[in-house]
């Protein structure tokens, strides 16, 4: 399937989801759906660097919060439409990703991972000390209940849902395109054997920087509409560890080598968490995610997609 065909199909599926949501007429569906779509974007973004290149990013929450706080900052300065804020969030997070990568990606992979872990702590320190964006008290972003687009009144949550749906489609299409392009082959070469790739003429540092910037940019995009969704943004919620753990666990559980993995993981874990948060408690549901992550990396290193592939191969073999 070509890029255009796939994008059309993805948009088609997106429209179907939207039509279903519209038919359901349930505000809760939009709220829950927004969270799951947000996780699809985050998991796909993480996988561009983690799954394709093999570099672990523990700073998903930091990049997400960068996008969210760019929005808060600009909201106080001059209100802009959300699509513009998403682009700005992408640029800010992408630049930070590029800078971090430039400083640490020339070294062993572990150093990059450690630096991203520490990045979250430092950015949180900065935000907590920055009164303009609310400091440790947090910031209120009040939006109207409905929004007027081309003369039609739309529910605000529906509007946010549509935006996130579009982002998810774009992220998945990008990931799939990368996978099948020369860029993707370069990434895979880095993941499998960086030294061999370097000696075969793959510009490893440049490719790693592209992956880090792209991955960071998508995380920033996912974060940019978040203040409007939550309407009261605190550093602790924007930098929540659940974003980091989910954006790692979802691709790991789904499967890291293709774009389907993060999608499957995000839909599965996202739905499970929506259910568990309502019925049990949010701490227990995070424990479940953590245990699933540990279990999957030990028992099924290639995730659910890998398990299905193995099953198919075995059947074909017999």
């Amino acid at each position: 399937m070509g890029v255009v065909k796939f994008s059309t199909a993805a948009i088609g599926v997106g429209l179907l989801v939207l039509a279903f949501a519209h038919w359901l007429k349930l505000d809760y569906f939009y709220f829950a759906g927004y969270t799951i779509l947000q996780f699809i974007v985050l998991a796909t973004a993480w996988n561009i660097l983690g799954g394709y290149c093999g570099y672990v990013n523990f700073g998903s929450a930091a990049f997400f919060a960068l996008g969210a706080y760019s929005t808060v900052f600009l909201h106080k300065l001059y209100p802009l439409p959300i699509p513009v804020l998403i682009v700005i969030g992408a640029v800010v997070s992408g630049m930070v990703g590029l800078g971090m990568g430039y400083l640490t990606l020339r070294l062993r992979g572990a150093f990059f991972a450690i630096a991203t872990l520490a990045l979250a702590v430092v950015l949180q320190t900065l935000v907590v000390n920055w009164e303009y964006v609310g400091g440790s008290r947090g910031a209120y972003i009040v939006s109207s209940d409905t929004i007027d687009i081309a003369g039609i009144q739309i529910n605000y949550i529906e509007y946010l849902f549509v935006l996130m749906l579009a982002l998810a489609v774009i992220a998945l299409a990008t990931a799939r395109t990368i996978e099948r392009s020369q860029l993707g082959f370069g990434f895979a070469a880095i993941r499998d054997d960086e030294l061999a790739a370097e000696t075969s003429g793959v510009p490893t540092l440049r490719l790693k920087l592209i992956a880090t910037a792209l991955s960071g940019a998508f995380m920033g995009m996912a974060g940019a509409p978040f203040p409007y969704y939550i309407s009261y943004l605190q550093p602790a919620s924007a930098f929540g560890l659940e974003y980091t753990v989910n954006s790692i666990a979802m691709p790991m559980i789904g499967g890291t080598t293709s774009w389907i993995g993060p999608l499957v993981g995000a839909v599965l874990l996202g739905t499970l968490q929506q259910y568990a948060t309502v019925t049990i408690s949010s701490a227990v549901n995070l424990l479940i995610v953590g245990l699933m992550l540990v279990g999957f990396v030990i028992v099924a290193p290639n995730g659910l997609v890998g398990l299905v592939q193995e099953r198919l191969c075995a059947r074909r073999g017999s």
Binding site: I114, A115, L287, V297
Partner: protein, 291 residues
């Protein structure tokens, strides 16, 4: 701001005491990451686990925190050996330590933290001991025993590890494994066994570091996260695997962090370690005292 000499001196002394404690926190990572090349980002979680065990025994039986942590050493050693065995079989043997191994340790960190939240809640907990509260005054300098006792314990622990690694047979085997694993195999020694012992040892230090942590400050389950950046910054700055380098880097970070929180406010202190880490990685990745 009026900067007086005794304020600066006291900040430096307090920083040195804090640095001693940081050295104990980093000792385990210096062994696992510095010598064995295992990126155990879950180390702070083991430290917090140690803190809670100490807290639990101290509150219920009234035993001194440091004594509890010494009694718990074998348990932590066994835990470490077990974790290494799982890590080796699932990741190191299959050559997947860089991506999945890291995710594994991150999962451990997360599961430990959430489990502690479920058991103990997010309230701050503290221990009771005779030396928490009083302090010694020498001239201008004011040394709280709450900081002095952990610092002395940490230095003792650090000295013991250094002696063990450089003098004992097993310690030298650990050094050998960190330098050339293949050579060790050719000498008919089992590098996996040596590494298991070393990793067990590194987790065992978390028990003592945990006791020191809960003496110094009240704890809650997510406190450990603040230490990840610090621990690895010290480890890298000191030069991987160099114990004296680690000690000096820990003292340096302690002093600079304390000066920062004295003059700019404690909310800025966490950023110091990260700045250090990034600068070191960018300009001198071998660390100040690396080979």
């Amino acid at each position: 701001m009026d900067i007086s000499a005794d304020l600066v001196i006291n900040a430096i002394v307090a920083g040195l005491l804090l640095g001693g404690f940081y050295a104990a926190v980093t000792a385990g990572v210096s062994i696992s990451f510095g010598m064995l090349g295992i990126v155990n980002i879950a180390h702070p979680a083991f430290i917090i686990l140690g803190s809670y065990i100490v807290y639990f025994v101290n509150i219920n039986l009234g035993v001194d925190p440091i004594v509890v942590s010494i009694v718990a050493l074998p348990v932590f050693y066994a835990l470490g050996a077990l974790v290494y065995q799982v890590y080796y079989l699932s990741f190191e043997k299959r050559g997947q330590e860089s991506l999945r191994g890291l995710a594994f340790f991150f999962g451990l960190l997360f599961v430990t933290e959430v489990s502690l939240i479920l058991v103990f809640g997010v309230d701050y907990r503290y221990v009771k001991a005779a030396y928490i509260g009083p302090s010694i005054h020498i001239g201008l300098i004011d040394m709280p025993l709450r900081m002095l006792v952990p610092c002395v314990t940490a230095l003792t622990l650090f000295g013991a590890i250094e002696l063990f690694v450089t003098r004992s047979f097993l310690g030298r085997a650990i050094m050998a494994v960190s330098q050339d694993q293949l050579a060790l195999e050719l000498m008919a020694a089992d590098p996996i066994r040596v590494k298991r012992v070393a990793f067990g040892l590194s987790i065992a230090t978390a028990s003592i570091a945990g006791a020191l942590l809960v003496i110094i400050q009240p704890i809650e389950p997510s406190v450990g996260r603040d230490y990840i950046g610090r621990v690895f910054a010290i480890c890298v700055l000191g030069g991987l695997g160099s114990m004296p380098g680690t000690l000096i880097a820990a003292m340096l970070l302690g002093v600079i962090e304390n000066l920062t929180s004295t003059f700019y406010g404690p909310s800025w202190a966490p950023a110091v370690a990260f700045g250090f880490l990034l600068l070191t990685l960018a300009f001198r990745p071998a660390g100040l005292f690396g080979r």
